[in-house]
């Protein structure tokens, strides 16, 4: 049978959601070693969240690194309008083209105008090299 993609995944949240709109790392993948050509790294995530009090939207960023100050992979923040107390499942798919360096990836969330932490459930992040 088959073959293997180089791949990484996690279902373990990296942080507890804060009771404010501070950008927070929710998933961080270990370092991935892409080939030295222009290989595509596919990035997939799904987030189940129940927005906390005051939250009007979630703002997602994929970053090349472990922290909220690392470079963006997406061109602009991904914004999803939400309603307080209504659980929502949001899936994201994106890709990065790397050139043979050791790169971790992380997903961050801002709970816009939140005053109470949202609840994270049934969430995960994956990456694999094509």
């Amino acid at each position: 049978m088959g073959f293997r993609f180089a791949a990484l995944s996690t279902t373990a949240p990296a942080s507890v959601m804060p009771a404010n709109s501070t950008e927070t790392v929710v998933f961080a993948l270990p370092q991935m070693v892409p080939p030295t050509d222009s290989a595509i790294v596919a990035l997939m995530w799904n987030v189940g969240m129940t927005p906390g009090t005051g939250c009007t939207s979630f703002r997602f960023n994929l970053r090349r690194g472990f922290t909220v100050s690392d470079p963006l992979v997406n061109a602009t923040p991904w914004i999803a309008t939400v309603a307080v107390g209504s659980a929502i499942q949001i899936n994201g798919f994106y890709f990065d083209v790397m050139f043979g360096q050791f790169w971790p990836y992380c997903l961050t969330i801002q709970q816009i105008t939140a005053t109470v932490a949202s609840t994270l459930f049934a969430s995960a992040m994956h990456s694999f090299i094509l």
């Binding site: 180089a6 596919a42 602009t76 914004i79 999803a80 309008t81 994201g92 090299i129 094509l130």
Partner: protein, 129 residues
């Protein structure tokens, strides 16, 4: 470890959306060289979409080709949305073109729209299994 598969990708939005429900191509991959057997081509897309005035959501279609004159794949996605809200949208599908250099095009219709919606980010990739 691991292995590589044939793949193509694009994150380049083809143009602004119209102020109507006309189907509009938003992403087209470069041609991918497919095997002549019944190999599957996986297609994944994403977009961050804000519906414009009067828009009730979107319909999305895939074409095997560089534009809306290509072969329509047998799938149409529908989503009900609210004008002015922002949505993170993704989808996946498979094709089995049976050979040739094949680009893929993703097209959107903004249901009942009288004002143009906006796509702020997204992309489309194709890879062969």
């Amino acid at each position: 470890m691991g292995s590589r598969v044939g793949s193509q990708s694009t994150g380049t939005l083809l143009g602004v959306l119209p102020a109507s429900s006309a189907y509009t191509a938003i992403y087209t991959t470069p041609a991918i060289i497919t095997p002549s057997d019944s190999a599957m081509v996986f297609l994944f897309w994403s977009m961050v979409f804000t519906p414009g005035t009067a828009c009730l959501g979107y319909q999305m279609k895939f074409y095997r080709g560089p534009d809306l004159n290509g072969v329509l794949l047998p799938v149409t996605w529908n989503a009900v949305q609210v004008a002015g809200n922002s949505y993170v949208c993704c989808g996946g599908y498979v094709d089995s073109p049976g050979g040739g250099a094949v680009p893929y095009t993703l097209a959107i219709s903004q249901t009942a729209a009288t004002g143009a919606g906006t796509i702020t980010d997204g992309g489309l990739i194709a890879f062969i299994l």
